[in-house]
């Protein structure tokens, strides 16, 4: 499966990072791939929280994509900037 780069804007991280995504990945899998490069390196883990993925917008107010939606279904493209952010279990 070919991969392509997306821009991981991971909540609380200092840097916007280039992470490889795959079209068949679900949002949970994509969040995990991004978390690998932030949590435990530059961002503290938040046990019990769920990571959600949404498109980057100016006001940080976009709705998250469904957790089981794939990268292809979400229409995420080469070098798109996405937000990965912590949510409470109840909101996930």
């Amino acid at each position: 499966m070919s991969t392509f780069p997306i821009l991981s804007r991971f909540q609380y991280d200092c840097h916007v990072k280039v992470v490889e995504a795959e079209a068949a990945q679900t949002m949970d899998m994509l969040a995990e791939a991004c978390a690998y490069h932030s949590i435990g390196l530059h961002v503290a883990d938040q046990p019990g929280k769920i990571l959600r993925v949404r498109p980057t917008t100016d006001a940080d107010d976009a709705e998250p994509w469904p957790r089981d939606m794939t990268v292809a279904e979400a229409g995420i493209k080469y070098f798109d900037s996405i937000d990965i952010y912590f949510t409470d279990q109840s909101k996930a």
């Binding site: 916007v16 503290a44 900037s81």
Partner: protein
């Protein structure tokens, strides 16, 4: 025989203008290299440099300056200063020489363009001294680090950096090619002589000179002071050009040149000066924070100079004030995290005492940048050094070529500013970097950042080893490691033991 007053002969001596017989003036001074603003020649004849010097005086003074700089170096070469030198200060020297030495040669070529194509005879006269100044600066800053080579291969970057594709050098080259190498004489004078040298070089040289003295590095302090005395003189080429531009209805163009160049230089300057001042120089030797320097020299003094000339405070001034609290802290984290990609050994330098100082100088530092270093510190305290090395890369700004970063932690502001042009998506770190692109897309659109090159096939395959080799790491010298071998976490160990 009594000497004439300077005012009796100076104007005649500097006026090398003539009426060309063999070619039209437009061919002798093509607008794209000389003055693209169509300002009448008679207006340029009024160009009056504030600092007046004759060639004879110049040579005499420069000879004395060189004698002093080289004498101090020769005398102190026998000292033990570099034996056991703190790696934080060594990093300041390595970063400085690598970033600056050959840039001075570029500056000499820029001055030469004003010598040849400046539309005013007094501008050409003054730029001649500037051209010679910059040659002297390049020679000093190539020669001084050369004797340190047997101690540490990193000092070879003074000669080699400009010939590599190291990510930090790509940033410097992109900016310098833009404002110095690819501009006409007038725009260049405004961008380099005023926006860069009046605005930022002064601060760099004065700040570094004081720090060097505090460190006991009198060779470097003396060299920097010697260079700065030249900069203070030839930086004055910019102001008269701006005054003539404004008088002839070209205020908007002058304003844009100042705003573009200042922001470009600021983004680099915060790395070469801000990080050393607030992180690399040992706590006991720091005298002012980078923020304190910036507020005094730039926010107060430079802005006043801009307005006194008849220009406006740059539109992004509030963004600059925010960046002063932010940019170099982000890049200290980034450079340290990706330390194998640079030619110096950046110390983390965020032990308990240093963090207390940073919080005092930058209130809120602990809630923001502190959270970033908390994770790193925890990894080091628990023998997870491998977790301090990211396995990915940060996205790079398509203007300043610096990793796109912003405040971490509770005050999280990291964001990429994107822009589409002719089907290509560009990534920028800030609004001003994106704005600069839109002022002249044709100028900038074909450049590829180091990340673009990894995905365009230029670095193929883009493995870690290949990328490092492409950047000159392992070729010129090995890359960096923590400058203090992680000793800065000892304070946390002591706290835990208590």
């Amino acid at each position: 025989m009594p000497l004439l007053e300077r005012s009796d002969w100076y104007d005649i001596a500097r006026d090398t203008n003539w009426t060309p017989d063999f070619v039209p003036r437009e061919e002798l001074f093509p607008s794209e290299l000389s003055d693209p603003y169509d300002i009448p020649q008679a207006e340029w004849e009024t160009f009056d440099e504030p600092y007046k010097v004759s060639y004879r005086e110049y040579v005499k003074v420069q000879r004395e300056k060189d004698s002093s700089a080289y004498s101090v170096k020769a005398a102190l070469s026998r000292s033990k200063f570099h034996d056991g030198l703190d790696e934080g200060w060594a990093s300041v020297l390595k970063l400085h020489y690598g970033a600056v030495a050959l840039t001075e040669y570029q500056a000499s070529q820029f001055q030469a363009r004003m010598v040849r194509f400046g539309p005013s005879p007094s501008m050409r006269n003054m730029a001649t001294y500037g051209m010679l100044d910059e040659l002297r600066h390049a020679q000093l800053q190539l020669y001084f680090p050369h004797e340190l080579l047997p101690r540490d291969r990193h000092y070879d970057w003074a000669h080699e950096a400009a010939h590599t594709n190291n990510w930090a050098i790509l940033g410097g080259r992109h900016a310098m090619d833009d404002v110095m190498m690819c501009r006409d004489a007038i725009t260049g004078a405004i961008m380099v002589s005023f926006a860069f040298e009046t605005g930022l070089t002064n601060l760099q040289m004065v700040g570094l000179s004081t720090d060097a003295t505090n460190m006991g590095d009198f060779t470097f302090a003396n060299m920097i002071t010697s260079i700065q005395s030249d900069e203070a003189r030839h930086a004055q080429l910019g102001s008269p050009a701006i005054e003539i531009m404004i008088k002839n209805g070209r205020k908007a163009e002058a304003q844009q040149a100042v705003d573009v160049a200042f922001w470009r230089m600021w983004r680099l300057f915060a790395i070469t000066v801000g990080i050393p001042m607030d992180y690399y120089i040992p706590l006991e030797q720091r005298h002012l924070s980078f923020k304190e320097f910036m507020h005094e020299w730039i926010i107060r003094q430079y802005d006043r100079q801009v307005r006194e000339l008849g220009l406006e405070t740059p539109w992004y001034w509030d963004l600059l004030k925010d960046d002063i609290e932010n940019h170099h802290h982000c890049q200290q984290g980034g450079i340290w995290s990706w330390r194998p990609t640079v030619w110096w050994n950046p110390p983390g330098a965020v032990g308990p005492r240093e963090r207390e100082w940073l919080e005092e100088k930058y209130p809120g530092w602990n809630d923001s940048f502190g959270t970033y270093w908390d994770v790193i510190t925890d990894n080091l305290l628990n023998d997870r050094e491998e977790k301090t090395h990211p396995e990915c890369i940060p996205i790079i700004c398509n203007m300043c070529q610096i990793p796109i970063s912003n405040r971490p932690g509770k005050l999280w502001k990291a964001r990429v500013y994107q822009h589409e042009h002719e089907g290509r998506r560009y990534n920028f770190c800030t609004e001003p970097c994106r704005w600069i692109f839109t002022t002249d897309p044709e100028r900038y659109k074909k450049h590829e950042s180091i990340v673009d090159r990894m995905y365009s096939g230029e670095i193929n395959p883009p493995t870690l080893d290949n990328v490092l080799t492409y950047m000159g790491i392992g070729v010129v010298s090995e890359g960096g490691h923590d400058g203090h071998d992680y000793r800065w976490i000892d304070g946390f160990r002591a706290q835990a033991a208590e």
